[in-house]
């Protein structure tokens, strides 16, 4: 499996690692994935009074592609409104990083984390439960259904 230069750059020099105060009024937290699936992403955004995302942080337990996907979305969402941020699609992330086919689920996870986090920030109601909100069973099935091994 070979990785693109952009992916390696985001893995080796991840942007915006860290945490925001999850109890703050203007911070939204998205926590998706499951340790048993091998990936968990936490994405946080801070929304300014003008409705623009002024800061974004992430922490990710997962493969290099998952880390790079998280890092990339934190860059992309900054300066956007929540509505704009929600238009980011996993296919955009996958294309930008040239994710290998077996890693596409990592970008699905990232897209989902934006959704969840945005919704939470919108509602000014950060929450730690991971199974609440937008993540339906179907999406989890997509995330956790791993492609078959080659040989």
């Amino acid at each position: 499996m070979t990785y693109s230069a952009k992916l390696i750059d985001h893995y080796e020099n991840p942007r915006n690692i860290g945490s925001l105060d999850k109890s703050a009024e203007d911070v939204g937290t998205g926590l998706v994935g499951a340790p048993a699936c091998g990936d968990v992403m936490k994405l946080q955004i801070k929304v300014g009074p003008d409705g623009l995302i002024e800061d974004a942080k992430f922490k990710t337990f997962g493969c290099g592609s998952a880390i790079a996907s998280s890092s990339l979305v934190t860059e992309w969402v900054k300066g956007k409104t929540i509505d704009e941020a929600e238009t980011i699609k996993n296919t955009d992330i996958a294309r930008h990083l040239a994710l290998p086919p077996v890693k596409i689920h990592c970008s699905v996870l990232a897209e989902d984390a934006i959704d969840r986090r945005s919704r939470q920030a919108d509602r000014r109601h950060p929450h730690r439960r991971a199974d609440e909100g937008l993540l339906g069973d179907e999406l989890y099935a997509r995330i956790c259904r791993r492609p078959a091994a080659d040989g």
Binding site: M1, Y11, A34, P35, A36, G38, V40, A130, D137
Partner: protein
């Protein structure tokens, strides 16, 4: 020093995946060279000296392999590798004795090629018992004893596990099999040349051997087939009737010679090498423990080959770690399945939780591993595990005292 530089150039990563494959020992390559060049005859040509010369090389190698496992040279059959040996041993006895016995016993931590062979035989109407293993990876002898019946044709239990390096109690297993009249097959690909093996003392009836796991070439292996009491097999590859009719096909003379030479070197150097590797392994584990919290060795550390470590680095996903330590060639899970994202079935069988299985690395040390390489690897691992933990939400939670199990992660 010249030997080492032949194995690894300075710009190459440090190779720590000796359970996936081993580099060819330069001494083995040297022994093979004449058979690649001027001694190129067909070992089955009886009409001229090229054939005799090749046959001589093949037979000398057969004796070298036999000696390493305490067998007679007539009991050693060349194959293309351990996968073929495992297939031939299990399907071969199952098919030959199918009118009298139709039950097979194996364990859940066997190599895929044994498990797949057993599944294939289930489709053919055989019954297979897949024994669990204990938390240390070893089979429970009482459970085994209870599973073997007078319908059991063969018990197939690997000598050493390819992921966690644990050594099964072969002599005890052999004794149980002999008492019940079942054949004992062991996939010894990871054990041969690393620990003393004796087919007589251990009552082993069939043993699979691989060339490229003992610093020999790829594409060659062997199957030990006991002659007294005789084990009979139905052949899988038919043709010219070579290898006592068990396995037709022209023998790859240079590969056979390489396997023999590799076996002889292992035999000569086994004791000293085991001591050296044990020291290196302990040094690595000590180095990691000194700098990292929450790391766990999977599988029994005492009943284990010296050159294997399988470690879970809690809260750090194994693939991301592998991507970081790009100067180290290690594997997460077995080489055959590591392209998949499924956590290792071997670790799951030990009761290692899925999230911990995702954080495991297999580190294999071997003949050309140096103390300097071990130290570099420790430094690299510590650096990247620390870095990845800083970006791990699970590590953060664990440091905050949040029990990850208390979180309702969505079902998967």
């Amino acid at each position: 020093m010249t030997v080492i530089t032949q194995i690894r150039r300075n710009d190459q990563p440090i190779y720590l995946d000796y359970q996936a494959t081993t580099p060819l020992d330069p001494r083995v390559l040297e022994a093979m060279m004449p058979y690649f060049t001027y001694k190129f005859g067909n070992a089955h040509s009886r009409s001229h000296s090229y054939g005799w010369e090749a046959e001589e090389g093949v037979e000398k190698a057969r004796a070298q392999v036999a000696k390493l496992i305490g067998a007679d040279e007539k009991e050693v059959i060349y194959t293309s590798g351990a996968t073929e040996s495992n297939n031939l041993a299990i399907k071969g006895v199952a098919d030959f004795y199918k009118d009298r016995r139709n039950h097979i016993v194996t364990t859940v931590t066997e190599h895929k090629c044994v498990l797949d062979t057993c599944r294939h035989l289930e489709q053919e109407g055989f019954t297979v018992t897949y024994l669990p293993v204990q938390q240390n990876g070893l089979v429970d002898l009482d459970v085994l004893r209870a599973a073997v019946t007078d319908k059991t044709v063969v018990v197939s239990i690997m000598a050493v596990n390819n992921e966690i390096g644990v050594i099964q109690p072969l002599a005890e297993i052999g004794k149980i099999c002999r008492e019940r009249g079942a054949f004992f097959h062991t996939d010894a690909a990871q054990a041969v040349g690393k620990i003393p093996l004796d087919v007589e003392a251990m009552n082993i009836d069939l043993m699979s051997i691989s060339g490229h796991k003992i610093y020999g070439p790829k594409g060659i292996g062997a199957l030990y087939v006991r002659r007294k009491p005789r084990v009979r097999l139905a052949a899988m590859i038919h043709g010219g009737g070579q290898e006592r009719g068990f396995r037709s096909g022209t023998l790859p003379t240079p590969l056979c010679v390489g396997l023999g030479e590799a076996a002889e070197i292992c035999m000569k150097e086994m004791d000293a090498e085991a001591e050296r590797l044990t020291k290196l392994r302990d040094r690595m584990l000590k180095g990691l423990n000194a700098k990292l919290k929450e790391i766990y060795v999977n599988g029994d550390l005492e009943h284990r080959i010296p050159g294997n470590l399988n470690i879970s680095f809690a809260h750090v996903e194994g693939e991301s770690l592998m991507m970081g330590i790009k100067n180290l060639s290690v594997s997460s899970g077995s080489a055959c399945t590591s392209a998949s994202l499924e956590p290792s079935y071997v670790l799951r069988a030990l009761g290692v939780e899925e999230e911990m299985a995702h954080t495991s690395l297999r580190i294999g040390l071997g003949r050309f591993t140096t103390e300097h390489e071990v130290d570099t690897a420790v430094e690299d691992l510590v650096h990247h595990v620390t870095k990845l933990r800083e970006m791990s939400p699970l590590w953060e939670m664990s440091q905050e005292g949040i029990d990850i199990k208390s979180i309702e992660w969505a079902a998967h």
